[in-house]
């Protein structure tokens, strides 16, 4: 996912960042303009288009020759000092004809594009926002228009209007207004369903105010994107008409009929074709490049994380080497005996072209065979990133240092192919939101059978039987019926059971569960936790559960690793950490859980909030919010130190404090 993790899966920070960058209500348009001027592709395109327009408009003054001036001594000549771009079969100057011809072509494109944009956007907006009764009629008309083969219709229009270019291009505009209509209708519908539009309504805004303040600003950039796309397509059509000699009447030039003229003499020379082809190509490209850049600045696009996998293993920076070497001896569990052993793990991602953002820094902990470890902390602590890095699933461009050992194998630095052999068969994964964790287009049974077959190399029939068995193991009432369902047909709780079933398909030794119950109803959460605990005992799985809920830790975990701002701050058995938390943060975090607090009293809270990655202080990262902080806490980085058997704490005052004393 994105840079910071969140308790709820639907809040992907990746969405928020680009939207924030195109700033302000009117700023959205300004941001788009800035993007267009800043990116070389769109800047060059704008320059090219301006040049083409200026040359076409000024052809009468600038062009070296008239559009029909024939120089019969120099027909079909290449570039020369007299004719910079050569001449055609009648010795007419190609450069001059390109400039004059641009008028016909560009005027046609302008007419068609404006028609399509005005018709499409206005009607689309009305259909999408007002949901008028005629919406379905309008959509049907749009469907019809989009099904019409443009050029064939244009041929009949041409036959009818004796080649009236204005009417032809108006027709093109009307036909293309259908696709603009669809885009605007869909976009309006989408914005209209945004929660903030509902919020504006509950603030008392009327339809017009909502349209003006919330919907139109979001659609402005769409006008530019669609304009660019329609222009690039209609340009090709306009040139095509010219090629069939149904735009300008010869000898008046258009880009299209210049191509046609050139095509008659290609057996002699291909040259006369080159200048118009290049000009047409560049102009089409310019339009579509502007559309692309506008699109990107609207949606903000990065490479998907899903298949990412190009993680880079880097040596740990010296400054960050937080006693990684020395820690080995003080670990709660013997690394040799542990299933998973993480040492000095740091993860950073590119934040901009030049800067990197460290999300996780110097994390160390172990998970023993059959042990359940809770990775606890608030949003932005780096829990999910740690969990996913174990499986080698990181954002594109992530740099990772440290060590992740599973049994006897160092996982960090393994090539993707090797790492993939561990997934599912040694370490499996259950995600946050079961509703989006399953492949939407395949039946549940088939999804599980597929992975069973892949991991265990059995026949199809055996895989199907094993899949039903797995569904039974996760207590799905009627496995046979369930196997035939698609993911959208089942409840969240059932979907999470299915995810657990497919995680167990490869008979793994360890399970990583990233907030497995956060998205579920409380009663379902209880059942899923019970199921996980039961399966864990049955199969003596090692388990790592990422959670922000101490109740979940109390329910299923043997040990808790508390994270704060990218670091481990405490690592202790569940008995110890609930009995006597040693880090002020562990104590405060648990005290702030409303579930334990007594009714009638003011709820205890931790004031302030977790510092975001990139703003971590050099001293203790919790000092800002800590009631027990002293000057020394902020002076220097605090080490994770051993405090008693199987306990690690990152606090210089851990020895002297009684955490529950004045809470």
């Amino acid at each position: 996912m994105g840079i910071a993790e969140r308790a709820k899966p639907e809040t992907d920070p990746g969405d928020a960042a680009p939207l924030a960058s195109d700033a302000g209500s009117r700023g959205a348009q300004r941001g788009l303009l800035r993007a267009l001027l800043r990116r070389p592709a769109s800047l060059l395109s704008l320059i090219w288009l301006s040049a083409v327009v200026v040359l076409a408009l000024g052809a009468g003054v600038i062009a070296p020759y008239g559009s029909a001036d024939e120089d019969l001594l120099h027909t079909l000549s290449g570039p020369s000092s007299n004719h910079l771009l050569g001449t055609d079969n009648l010795g007419r100057d190609i450069l001059s004809r390109l400039m004059f011809g641009g008028r016909v072509t560009l005027a046609g494109v302008l007419i068609a594009t404006l028609t399509a944009l005005v018709l499409g956007s206005v009607i689309g907006l009305l259909a999408g926002y007002l949901r008028v009764a005629i919406d379905s009629v309008l959509s049907a008309i749009a469907d019809i228009l989009m099904s019409i083969p443009v050029l064939v219709v244009l041929l009949s229009v041409a036959a009818v209007t004796s080649r009236n270019t204005t009417v032809l291009m108006l027709t093109v505009g009307v036909l293309f207004s259908a696709s603009v209509f669809r885009i605007f209708r869909a976009a309006t519908l989408e914005v209209r369903q945004e929660l903030f539009v509902t919020a504006a309504r509950t603030s008392g805004l009327g339809d017009l105010a909502i349209l003006r303040r919330h919907i139109l600003p979001r659609l402005g950039s769409l006008l530019i994107i669609q304009g660019a796309i329609v222009a690039s397509v209609t340009l090709v059509i306009q040139v095509g008409l010219g090629f069939l000699s149904i735009d300008a009447r010869p000898p008046a030039p258009s880009w299209g009929n210049m191509v046609a003229t050139a095509s008659q003499t290609i057996s002699t020379t291909i040259w006369p074709l080159i200048p118009p082809a290049v000009v047409i190509g560049l102009t089409v490209l310019a339009f579509s490049a502007i559309g692309d850049v506008a699109q990107q600045s609207r949606t903000g696009r990065g490479r998907p994380v899903g298949l990412g996998g190009s993680m880079r293993l880097v040596p740990p920076p010296v400054a960050d080497d937080l006693g990684a070497a020395g820690e080995g001896s003080t670990r709660p569990t013997d690394p040799a005996a542990s299933l998973l052993s993480i040492r000095a793990l740091s993860v950073s991602v590119p934040a901009s072209a030049s800067a990197r953002l460290t999300l996780v820094q110097g994390i160390s902990f172990d998970v023993g065979p059959g042990e359940v470890v809770g990775l606890v902390g608030e949003s932005g602590a780096g829990k999910s990133i740690t969990a996913r890095t174990i499986l080698g699933i990181v954002a594109e461009g992530a740099e990772v240092s440290g060590s992740i050992r599973f049994k006897d194998t160092e996982l960090l630095g393994l090539p993707e192919k090797e790492l993939a052999k561990f997934r599912g068969t040694e370490i499996a994964f259950v995600g946050q939101d079961p509703a989006v964790s399953l492949s939407p287009t395949h039946r549940i049974g088939a999804q599980i059978a597929e992975i069973v077959r892949f991991h265990r190399g059995v026949t199809r029939a055996e895989a199907r039987a094993l899949a039903l068995d797995l569904l039974d193991q996760v207590r799905i009432p009627d496995p046979k019926a369930a196997a035939r369902l698609y993911p959208h047909q089942i409840s969240g709780g059932m979907a999470q059971r299915v995810v657990i079933a497919l995680a167990l398909a490869g008979d793994p030794k360890m399970l990583i569960a990233d907030e497995p119950t956060t998205a579920l109803d409380v009663s379902v959460q209880m059942q899923i936790l019970g199921l996980l605990k039961g399966l864990q005992k049955e199969r003596s799985l090692g388990m790592l559960i990422v959670t922000h809920d101490w109740g979940v830790v109390a329910d299923v975990c043997d040990r808790a690793v508390v994270m704060y701002a990218g670091q481990v701050v405490e690592d202790a058995s569940v008995a110890d950490i609930f009995e006597r938390p040693l880090h002020p943060y562990s104590s405060a975090l648990r005290s702030a859980d409303p579930h334990l607090q007594s009714v009638g009293e003011r709820l205890r809270v931790i004031e302030g909030q977790v510092p975001a990655p990139g703003t971590w202080p050099s001293g203790c990262r919790f000092a800002e919010r800590c009631a027990k902080a002293v000057e020394a806490c902020r002076a220097a980085p605090v080490e994770l130190e051993s405090r008693g058997p199987a306990r690690l704490v990152r606090c210089i005052r851990a020895g002297e404090l009684d955490m529950d004393a004045d809470d």
């Binding site: 924030a20 700033a23 903030f196 009327g206 405060a588 334990l596």
Partner: protein
Amino acid sequence: MQMTDAAPLLAVEDLSVDYHDRRGAKFRAVEGVSFEIARGETLGLVGESGSGKSTIGKAILGLVPAAGGRLRFDGEDITRCSARRRRQLTAEIQVVFQDPYGSLNPVRSIGSTLAEPLNVHGPKLATGEVRARVAEALRLVSLSPDVAERLPGEFSGGQRQRIAIARALVLRPRLIVCDEAVSSLDLSVQAQVLNLLEDFRDQLGVSYLFITHDLGVVHHIASRLAVLYRGRLVEMDATDRIWDRPQHPYTAMLQAAAPVPDPRLQAERRAAFSLRHSAFLAAQAPTEASRV
């Protein structure tokens, strides 16, 4: 109905709400629900997904039409009031939604979002006055007034939810519908927001309809609870009484379902949950017992 001080701020009488699926088939989401909220009171409306709890909130806000029954606000029947009256009512009835990421327009500054309700209601305010009211609302939720210049994208979930509360408060409404207003936040942040809501009830006399699935959280803020299951009220009583002795098997199961951050207590609670869950299933019709 005459208006007296004893009249509840909001009275929901026998409310039913229908939804229609794409094929036009009718589906009853809320069936015959009645409750009242007094001035300065917080009523907790508890239920899981599909219980119809958010639908009731939407009906009160006028976002979905009632199929039957009546809604009275301060004695006035608002069940089918005009669109104009509905807009006026937004000054009295406000809402905080669950999702702090979706409820703020990402390309509008915080100040502009907060000023929005001020600009459409009541007498036209001078720019300076609007700014002052916005700053005051931000201060109420412990945010600095210069936050107004910034965009929602720069804030964490907890901060955004404060901003959403500030928007709800800026018109000084008498009722705020909190639709899972803290559910998407870290538990530690939920406590902050709950305290904030409690302060406003004490200082400003606001009433709340606090819609949630988490019985463990709502009993801190609500004096009375109404428990919903599949569109119907199954239990309604003072919070203490429900918490101490839940009557309906569903309520009993819900109560045991919120995990406590204490291994010993949690072990007891899990044992209780298993018993109550089976009891609840047994109380259901046999056909429903198979699907949970």
